[in-house]
């Protein structure tokens, strides 16, 4: 007796198409026999074998049978459905048949490639084909769906990644909202003096792009702003942005800077990695975009003590507005590009390196600011006591490649270490030691840069730094640092006295990465960076349809890789916008409302937030656009109310019965 419920329709006409795949299948499986046996089954109207079913001739065989013989279910016995299922679905579609009336039996990867040629292999192929035939009887048409894509894109983060993505899209005359948390765009790149491996001045290549952002009429720039809420789905996201009060009217301000000049209160400059000072009203750096200052409420004496307002007195444009409040803005966009970048590792916990205790131990980012002509020392390298250092040690892998902190390699530190050696030599002519574990210079022109810096008489010591102490006082020049580690190539402990040490610290996920991930429903990899859909084949997309990740928020990388990713994501967003619609998967969960007991178990389980509870009808419902057909809900539903289209119980049981009986 059949374990299946229900009786198949009488007018089902199945066509079976067995592929030889050249010799791939035919040399193991007797394909003609498979076709002959299929034909013996009642529901099968026609069964053929052909040398390449995927060729246009092979496809035509199916097309003709549908048109001329009235075939209304198709079984293709060939390679894995991952390869050609879509091709065969198209054949059905073009012939006027719903594409889900197809079933593929994989007789190549799951049969021919596994077994010795002979009757047993053929028998297994027969069984697989029979399973497919029994299954396809239970297939029914599934409605395909697409969603309109609203023609606007949101880019979150205005570092080089966000800038590049925004420009690419805007240059195609499509609207972009660029939301940046800080008062200016530019990100980390704006803090650098020169960039490896070409030693271009960072500002010289970045500033023009920042200006383009300001000028481009398709870009709506919102700085000092944050995304606080995202709802909706691919093509139709609703985004809430908080525009923090600047206390300066952006429309009135002319950027003259008199407020900054007159403000009597100073504090550490975040942009200068706290090495320099800024005013309570400030623009972070001279080339800031937009060139509109911000009043820092935490530091402004008027806000703290109720007195001052010096800036207001001098501002001729009357742009100062102490009454301003945070503004919440709603945006409607079709796609989102996340470009929130990285934080640098704080080396204080590695107490033996003395960071924070020894004044001449710096981080890489601090060193960048010391080198920069717009930095706190005007680009002159200076020790804490104002002297110029005569020697430098550059320490690799601080907080990277280290299980105690971050197990991954930060990818850019070997190269910026070399950059520092070069800059130090150029500025002081002093001695430089590189303390490295492995030199990883794998980009275009990088090995050449390594060789060039070697030629500048830099000393390379292979080993991981053990300690930095200040116990070698030198009477003439004051205290020196003493570095100690094993030089693993010499096979001995070395002590290196230097004036200054730079810790090349790891690139880490942003401290608020989890919050951003939750707002956008993004996954995170084990290292904490945002997770891509596929590490090799889809590195900029995410599991959330319509949301892309670019630059260092996806993992540490250099500027060339960042820019390439940004352009790639822009192309993906543009493709959606230009077509104006997006097909979404047809294989989704379906809830039988008569069975749903309103327990809501499925609501919380869905990893895509696709199930919501309809309070009026008192049942759970699936948003078919968000659903990915994973069937987590189906497995959990205690009432058996949920099944996933094309994976119904009757289909699966029929296939099993076909294979076994």
């Amino acid at each position: 007796m059949s374990i299946l419920k229900g009786k198949p329709d009488d007018d089902i006409k199945i066509g079976v198409y067995v592929c030889h795949c050249g010799h791939n299948i035919a040399s193991t499986v007797d394909v003609e026999e498979v076709a002959r046996r299929a034909k013996e089954l009642g529901e099968v109207s026609v069964a053929r074998d052909y040398v390449y079913m995927c060729s246009s001739k092979g496809q035509n065989l199916i097309r003709q049978d549908i048109m001329q013989l009235g075939i209304n279910r198709v079984v293709v016995a060939a390679c894995s459905p991952r390869l050609y299922e879509q091709t065969f679905q198209n054949v059905l579609r073009e012939s006027g048949l719903n594409p889900y009336l197809l079933q593929v039996a994989n007789i190549r990867e799951q049969c021919a490639w596994l077994h010795e040629p002979g009757p047993l292999a053929t028998e297994k192929a027969n069984r697989l084909v029979k399973g497919a035939i029994k299954r396809v009887i239970h297939h029914s048409p599934i409605e395909e769906q697409s969603v309109p894509v609203f023609p606007a894109t949101l880019v979150i983060g205005g570092g080089i990644a966000g800038i590049q993505a925004a420009l690419e899209i805007a240059n195609s005359q499509q609207i972009v909202y660029l939301v940046e948390r800080e008062p200016s765009i530019g990100g980390h790149m704006a803090q650098f003096d020169k960039t490896f491996p070409t030693l271009d001045c960072s500002a010289c290549i970045l500033t023009p792009k920042m200006n383009e952002v300001a000028r481009n009429p398709y870009i709506r720039l919102m700085t000092y702003s944050e995304v606080v809420e995202v709802s909706g789905y691919v093509g139709n996201f609703n985004v809430k942005v908080r525009r923090k009060a600047r206390y300066i009217d952006e429309d009135k301000c002319v950027g003259c800077g008199i407020c900054v000049e007159k403000c009597p209160w100073s504090t550490e400059s975040e942009f200068d990695a706290d090495l320099g000072v800024r005013k309570a009203v400030y623009t972070p750096f001279p080339q800031a975009i937009p060139n509109i200052p911000v009043i820092d409420k935490e530091r402004c004496v008027y806000f703290l003590k109720g007195k001052c307002r010096a800036c207001e007195k001098f501002c001729e444009a009357k742009a100062i507005n102490f009454q301003q409040e945070d503004l919440f803005i709603e945006l409607h966009v079709g796609a989102i590009i996340v470009a929130t970048g990285y934080d640098v590792f704080d080396p204080t916990p590695i107490s033996q390196y003395g960071y924070g205790r020894l004044p001449n131990v710096f981080t890489s980012l601090e060193f960048e600011r010391l080198c920069s002509p717009s930095g706190p020392t005007g680009g002159q390298l200076k020790l804490a006591d104002g002297r110029e250092p005569k020697s430098l040690a550059v320490i690799h892998c601080v907080g990277s490649r280290d299980q105690n902190y971050n197990a991954y390699c930060s990818r850019v530190c070997c190269m910026h270490s070399l950059k520092y050696s070069h800059l130090f030599k150029e500025k002081t002519g002093g001695e430089v030691y590189q303390i490295y574990i492995d030199m990883r210079c794998t980009g275009k022109g990088y090995e050449e840069f390594y060789e060039r810096v070697q030629g500048e008489h830099v000393r390379f010591i292979r080993g991981k730094l053990a300690t930095i102490t200040a116990d070698s006082p030198d009477s003439e020049t004051g205290e020196k640092l003493s570095l100690s580690c094993e030089d693993t190539l010499l096979g001995g402990l070395v002590n290196i006295p230097v004036d200054m040490a730079v810790l090349c610290v790891a690139l880490e996920p942003r401290h608020d990465a989890e919050q951003v991930a939750q707002i956008l429903r993004l996954g995170r990899s084990r290292d904490g960076f945002f997770m891509e859909r596929h590490p090799k084949l889809d590195p900029v997309a995410t599991m959330s349809e319509g949301i892309f990740i670019v630059g260092c928020c996806q993992g540490p990388k250099d500027i060339p890789d960042t820019v390439a990713q940004a352009s790639a994501a822009a192309a993906r967003a543009l493709a959606m916008i230009v077509r104006g619609k997006m097909e979404t998967g047809a294989i989704t969960a379906a809830i039988d409302e008569t069975l749903c007991s309103a327990c809501k178990v499925c609501n919380a389980l869905c990893p895509y937030g696709a199930i919501f509870f309809d309070e009026v009808s008192n049942v759970s419902r699936v948003n078919r656009i968000l659903c990915k057909g994973c069937n987590v809900c189906g497995a959990a539903c205690p009432s058996g109310a949920i099944s996933t289209r094309n994976f119904s119980e009757s289909q699966i049981l029929a296939e099993i019965e076909g294979v076994l009986v």
């Binding site: 107490s351 033996q352 892998c397 490649r401 280290d402 299980q403 105690n404 574990i437 492995d438 292979r462 080993g463 991981k464 730094l465 053990a466 300690t467 100690s484 580690c485 094993e486 030089d487 693993t488 096979g491 001995g492 402990l493």
Partner: protein, 381 residues
């Protein structure tokens, strides 16, 4: 020069002896740079790890017996290599296969422990004699055991630690038992020195004696006993609550259980022992106790807590000869003198023994006293 050929069998043998994670080492040399030996002589830990990876170990080398198992390298190793396990595995291979010679002084201690249950080879019947002058009425029915460790039990210079501890416990109103001749060396250092079989038999005997006496809680003076009872015996099925004496006393001191009558007007520097600090993360309790004793001014040494400087006594080194100018304990005494301490406070009998020995070599006018934290409590009472 002779070319070396990787010898897989030797590497495999180490793996079997417990040198797991050996392959993860990427030869950065941080272990060498972190190892205290390199403050007194060259000891290329990293190279030993690489030799072990390839199975080209020089089993005759004295280097294999140097590691004090202080854990500084393990704590910092970026690849999570259990370097101590590798050192232990190499010693174990030597012990079990006889491929090379075990240092004489170590062999003697091991033989003594195997025969008499203590490294000094003293008669087991005399193990409880330290308590005699106290005329303690320790309670045979108490489920709390005070386990003194072999050194305070027999070593004349260190017996005072066991006595002070018993005194303080009595003052606090704690009932406790001592098992005297029924106790054996805990075996912690025996295991690190490579004698896995002897360790197992010591553990078995101790667990049996403790269980038979109905012991539920064990108080110890030695961080080494603490480590083996708590982290190693428990894997052999033992189920006792184990507390180092500073852990037991710190809350009592805070609660005001002790009425201090005297001021201890001394500058005290506390030396973190490797096994209490790095191996078991206990830093605060001894400091809390010292700060509560009236009169004491607590000063910190340069290398403290997780960065502490080893005394040189772990891993079986306490029984081996260390050349005069290669003793870490000398460096530590110098650090204590440099910060102007009157007392170097310890909470480990090995540290105490090593420091007492080192002091003999310091003929300076200014010197420093070595005291257990518990002795300082006694002074204040």
């Amino acid at each position: 020069m002779v070319a070396l050929t990787p010898f897989k069998e030797a590497a495999d043998m180490l793996m079997e002896a417990g040198a797991e994670k050996l392959d993860n080492c990427y030869q950065c040399g941080l272990c060498t740079g972190s190892c205290p030996w390199n403050q007194v002589r060259s000891f290329l830990v990293r190279r030993i790890i690489h030799q072990a990876q390839l199975g080209v170990i020089d089993f005759e080398s004295e280097d294999l017996w140097l590691c004090t198992t202080c854990r500084n390298c393990v704590q910092r190793c970026p690849r999570g290599v259990e370097i101590i396990d590798i050192m232990k595995a190499m010693r174990r291979v030597i012990t079990e296969t006889g491929t090379a010679k075990i240092p004489d002084s170590l062999r003697l201690a091991i033989t003594n422990i195997a025969g008499a249950g203590n490294p000094l080879g003293e008669p087991p019947e005399q193990r409880g004699d330290w308590a005699a002058p106290l005329r303690l009425k320790h309670k045979a029915d108490s489920s709390t055991l005070y386990f003194s460790c072999c050194i305070p039990a027999y070593e004349p210079k260190v017996k005072r630690v066991a006595r002070a501890t018993a005194q303080v416990l009595k003052t606090s109103g704690t009932d406790f038992n001592i098992l005297a001749s029924r106790e054996n060396c805990c075996g912690e250092s025996v295991r690190k020195a490579g004698d896995e079989n002897l360790f197992n038999s010591l553990a078995e005997k101790n667990i049996k004696a403790f269980s038979e006496a109905g012991i539920k809680q064990i108080l110890v003076s030695s961080p080494h006993c603490y480590h083996s009872f708590k982290n190693e015996y428990s894997k052999l099925g033992a189920d006792f609550e184990v507390l180092h004496i500073v852990q037991y006393l710190a809350p009592l001191v805070s609660e005001g259980k002790f009425k201090f009558k005297k001021e201890v007007k001394k500058k005290v520097a506390y030396h973190d022992s490797c096994y209490l600090a790095r191996h078991n993360g206990i830093y605060d309790e001894p400091r809390r106790i010292l700060e509560s004793i009236p009169g004491i001014e607590l000063v910190e040494l340069p290398d403290v807590k997780e960065n502490t400087l080893c005394c040189g006594g772990g891993g079986g080194r306490i029984w081996m000869d260390t050349k005069k100018d290669e003793r870490f304990s000398d460096l530590r005494i110098q650090q204590a003198l440099d910060v102007g301490a009157d007392v170097l406070a310890v909470s480990c009998p090995y540290c105490m023994l090593n420091f007492e020995d080192s002091l003999l070599g310091f003929s300076n006018t200014k010197t420093v006293e070595i005291k257990d934290v518990v002795e300082l409590i006694c002074e204040g009472l």
